[in-house]
Amino acid sequence: AAGVIQSPRHLIKEKRETATLKCYPIPRHDTVYWYQQGPGQDPQFLISFYEKMQSDKGSIPDRFSAQQFSDYHSELNMSSLELGDSALYFCASSATNGYGYTFGSGTRLTVV
């Protein structure tokens, strides 16, 4: 069965650069969530989208933005990258009447 696809798997950027992470949810899933997990830390909710509209916002820095497109895939854009942005970024998707949430394998971002 198709899972949540995230790309790229790994990304190395320099400070002050911009990064774009992509997430392709499970077909027919209408909600996408983004999480950030720093080294040795629990995942922190960043932002979510339902039917292409932002539905909830967590601890997402102003330097980050995200959107969900007509095909339901989502992109997380991060600008003016800082060393502290180095983390594993997870995307999850769910269906309104679904059961639980399915996570992608994550994108490991390293800022040097």
Partner: protein, 109 residues
């Protein structure tokens, strides 16, 4: 914050023993979920228990929920070395959910 907190933070057991992890949360929830994460890998959904349920089973997993105490437990029976991972509880209400700090489980062969 609705954030769940697990205890213990780390647990080491022998293969074949049972492992019990607990999670406490602060506010009302619609459901509580348990996830597993192998080191540096993605989060895998294990089980969801709704706020009106008290116990749920899935294979070697048993989850309990006590909404009066705002706590949940995850029991893994007859543990295997492959169960070595971090286990997180996540509490959900509305359109987002929050993860706890996780329990790092090591099963020694």
């Amino acid at each position: 914050s609705q954030q769940g907190e697990e205890d213990p933070q780390a647990l080491s057991i022998q293969e074949g023993e049972n492992a019990t992890m607990n999670c406490s949360y602060k506010t009302s929830i619609n459901n509580l979920q348990w996830y597993r994460q192998n080191s540096g890998r993605g989060l895998v959904h294990l089980i969801l228990i709704r706020s009106n349920e008290r116990e749920k089973h899935s294979g070697r997993l048993r989850v309990t929920l006590d909404t009066s105490k705002k706590s949940s437990s995850l029991l893994i029976t007859a543990s295997r070395a492959a169960d070595t991972a971090s286990y997180f509880c996540a509490t959900g209400k509305g359109n987002q959910f929050y993860f706890g700090t996780g329990t790092s489980l090591t099963v020694i062969p």
